[in-house]
């Protein structure tokens, strides 16, 4: 816990938080990392296989094969989300299932399904980007600054 927030607490609260922390089972960080590595890696291998198939049998070249590959991965993720499987896989896989494009698709599909009961416009439409929205916003902002740095360093 940050020392700044600790300072605002009363001595009793501080003492309690120390006690509470002792009882808190730690997040299994190493196990989560290993699982994320293999789960995320497996999704990437699957993506690579799809891309390879697209090149071999789909008539795409190496550059254009990326588009149908992403579309298929998204489709798989949305189907698994609708079937109620993806969230269970994610509890096991952690960041491994959240970081690839399938995680992004899951965040949108799950929000869309969840809020369908509030109607198509105010429910699905308004809530679909509830979780994905911040990724887009801060992704765009980060891209802008990276581009700015590049412009300054390399000059266009």
């Amino acid at each position: 816990m940050a020392s700044k927030t600790m300072q605002k607490l009363t001595p009793v609260q501080r003492e309690y938080q120390k006690l509470a922390q002792m009882h808190e089972p730690p997040r299994p960080v190493l196990r989560n990392c290993i699982r994320a590595f293999f789960a995320g890696g497996a999704i990437c291998v699957l993506g690579q296989a799809i891309q390879q198939l697209m090149i071999q049998f789909g008539g795409f070249d190496k550059r254009s094969a990326g588009d149908p590959t992403v579309a298929i991965l998204i489709l798989i993720s949305v189907v698994l989300t609708s079937m109620g499987v993806y969230d269970k896989f994610a509890q096991w896989a952690g960041a491994g299932s959240a970081v690839p494009v399938t995680g992004f698709a899951n965040s949108m599909a799950s929000s869309a399904i969840e809020h369908r009961s509030e109607g198509l416009v105010l429910g699905t439409g308004a809530n679909m980007f509830k979780l994905a929205g911040p990724v887009i916003v801060f992704g765009t902002v980060a891209a802008f600054f990276i581009a700015l740095i590049r412009l300054i360093l390399k000059g266009g």
């Binding site: 006690l19 808190e24 969230d87 299932s97 899951n106 799950s110 399904i113 009961s117």
Partner: protein, 345 residues
């Protein structure tokens, strides 16, 4: 009539209101837990054939309320008041459930402590002559709670080991002025305790001090020794909160035999086969465990006197996003086997 108030914050019910009937309704996941056989209705579909989680939650409550009334041999018109609540915004699940019952209604919110809050108030009403029959109820639904407090149910987020699983279910108890069921002898209304915990995925740690505070107040106000009870249970502290509560009990030198202290959040699910992290939570947790499981053990004569301390985390999705800590509360109700009715026979 002697004063009902005892000590600082407790009531002693001289007329011993009776729990004439109870009803518990749960979802499929709860039915697969170790207490599955203790519940009256186990649904196979967590949506109950409805088109939203919220409607399903309301249906659970309505079903439990109707069943409790029926079991008490009463009609809806005989019940004077309904006291209850749930976790959703504006306690809509309860209000919508009571809509069809047309029983005069008092909505209460105590988060997961609502079960005992409503039971204590029902007993108070009956004891003071304010009503002859009062129905107390509490409900929660895993998916509607996830949707409101956390993420969409199908969203793949990894929960930490301190997280708890909200129980899908509803419990109702019909409190009457006389009858053959177990009796309510006392209640202690808790005060808000906030130890500065901010993590909504660690409710057990946030709520444990409130539970111990109410426990201490109960024994102090009533001048009772914890030995008086065969079993003391907290509502939904689960693994983390329970172990903290045990520590606090020892630290404050409360003479509680820890073998006689348990937590509903630990009893609800099978930790080996069900993925519930630290354990169960939700309004329905203490409601269905008390009304379904504990009162069954009391009927069979295994338990004579129990103290149920339902714990609640009074946060909202907005309050924790704004960085507020989690204020917590706990309410205790003492339930005893009815000596006149030959309980356990």
């Amino acid at each position: 009539m002697t004063l009902m108030l005892k000590g600082r914050q407790s009531w002693v019910f001289e007329r011993k209101p009776v729990i004439a009937a109870t009803a518990t309704v749960v979802g499929p996941f709860e039915g697969r837990g170790p207490l599955g056989n203790d519940f009256d209705i186990v649904h196979g579909d967590s949506l109950l054939g409805k088109d939203s989680w919220e409607k399903a939650e309301s249906a659970l409550m309505e079903e439990a309320a109707n069943l409790a009334i029926e079991r008490a041999g009463l009609r809806k018109e005989d019940v004077h008041f309904y006291i209850g609540g749930d976790l959703l915004n504006q306690i809509t699940s309860t209000s919508f459930a009571v809509r069809s019952l047309s029983i005069p209604y008092i909505g209460v919110f105590g988060a997961c402590s609502t079960s005992m809050e409503s039971l204590a108030l029902a007993a108070h009403l009956v004891n003071s002559g304010g009503a002859r029959y009062v129905l107390a109820g509490a409900c929660s639904h895993n998916s509607s709670a996830e949707k409101q407090f956390r993420y969409p149910t199908e969203y793949g987020s990894q929960k930490p080991p301190t997280a708890q699983y909200t129980v899908t279910g509803a419990g109702a108890a019909l409190v009457a002025e006389s009858g053959t069921g177990p009796v309510i002898t006392a209640a202690t209304i808790g005060r808000i305790v906030d130890m500065g915990i901010k993590d909504p995925f660690n409710m057990g740690a946030a709520m444990a001090p409130a539970a111990v505070d109410t426990m201490t107040a109960h024994f102090r106000d009533l001048g009772r020794s914890p030995d008086y009870y065969d079993l003391i249970v907290t509502g939904d502290l689960a693994k983390v909160g329970y172990s903290i509560a045990c520590d606090l009990i020892q630290k404050h030198q409360l003479p509680i035999d820890l073998n006689k202290y348990n937590d509903c959040g630990l009893m609800m699910y099978d930790f080996n086969t069900q993925m519930v992290q630290a354990g169960a939570s939700g309004c329905a947790c203490s409601a269905v465990v008390t009304y379904g499981h504990l009162l069954r053990r009391m009927r069979e004569g295994e338990l004579k006197r129990i103290l149920v301390i339902a714990t609640g985390a009074l946060l909202s999705p907005l309050s924790y996003q704004q960085g507020e800590s989690i204020p917590c509360i706990a309410h205790a109700v003492a339930i005893e086997a009815n000596p006149e009715a030959g309980e356990g026979a």
